[in-house]
Symmetry: C2
Subunit: 217 residues, 2 copies
């Protein structure tokens, strides 16, 4: 019924995936700049020339990986942030989500964290761009929250950036911790309390001014 599949495109997509997966696994122990085209094809089980049918060079492959990683991540995080409830609960849920993401897509997340400040300009810019867009979205959501009433757009973005950066630091900490250790639990504890502290600051912002809050302390 649907001609959308096509045995040809199926094969094409399959080797493309093989290339992406090969790169992803190799990138667990090196960075994109040192990733060789041949190296990738060797692991993927295809010849070097086949690589060119999909990507001009490893840089372009990297950009594809950025899109892939941040797209799925974006969707997941967005749906979770949309949940409402009490602040403390939302903080816990968010941190748990980070942990789950790291457990489920370690390679993707490691790649993003690594290449965010990595040596390949265009990939770095791609990551920064997506993270900026994400921060803007978070800012918008913060503005919709009753707590964000009266905040300037600038302040909202400032806070959103803090949250996003903290998110990256947290997933990075999870990655550094072995999955078995109690180190993992320590990361959770620290991340939660840091978010609670930031939240406390948020309740008393701007610093000098009194908040329209029924004496929250």
């Amino acid at each position: 019924m649907s001609e959308t599949i096509g045995a040809r495109q199926a094969q094409r997509h399959k080797t493309r995936r093989a290339l992406l997966d090969a790169a992803l696994s190799l990138l667990e122990e090196q960075s994109l700049g040192s990733l060789g085209l041949r190296e990738v094809t060797r692991v993927a089980g295809v010849t070097p020339t086949a690589f060119y049918r999909h990507f001009r060079d490893t840089e372009e492959l990297g950009i594809a990986l950025v899109d892939e990683a941040l797209q799925s991540l974006h969707a997941t995080v967005r749906s979770t942030l949309a949940a409402s409830g009490e602040a403390a609960q939302r903080i816990d849920t968010t941190v748990d989500l980070m942990a789950e993401l790291v457990r489920e897509y370690p390679a993707h997340i490691r790649f993003i964290v690594r290449e965010r400040h990595g040596g390949v300009r265009r990939v770095r810019e791609a990551v920064s761009g997506q993270l900026d867009a994400f921060a803007r979205e978070v800012a918008e959501r913060l503005g919709a929250d009753p707590l964000g009433a009266g905040w300037s757009a600038d302040d909202l973005l400032m806070l959103a950036r803090l949250y996003v950066d903290h998110m990256v630091m947290t997933v990075s900490a999870y990655l550094a911790a072995g999955p078995d250790d109690g180190e993992w639990a320590a990361v959770t504890r620290t991340a939660r309390r840091q978010l609670r502290l930031i939240h406390a600051g948020r309740l008393h912002w701007p610093v000098g001014r009194a908040r329209p809050e029924p004496d929250a302390l």
Copy 2:
């Protein structure tokens, strides 16, 4: 009189510096993992063989760079953090210090930020280790502050980590901003306000204790 430097050691030290500087300049546009031994010696103006007289491989050179970068940075930051005064003023001074560091040692700082999550394990661990030690020192200082009275050691470290991570994010933002732009000023503004917000949270910590939430779920 003969205990002076010695012409031989002087020459040795000179080419060692040349190697480090060459690497540092090359690392502005790539990461350590892709840094070639020959590449470094070419820029340094020596032969590949001379490299071995100083470092076993580029990894070892990287570790030397970590020490060099974080040692001077550590000293500078420590002296500035030691200054006392009003909180708002100290925040401004700290952020100004970050800006100054980036302006003065851009290559060193870029290297640290990049290799913190980079592809070379031992270098990554070296950076993390130094940053952890730095965080512990900050925690100790926070504990000495009257504001830190009554905080658990765990909470102090949690806050110190937040500060150190924020510091790294800030210098990274400065690096990404062109030195001429008004972007630079924007980074300063954002960093200051983020620190003020964290400071506000610090004043109201711990959060939930003996404090009735308005409408718990």
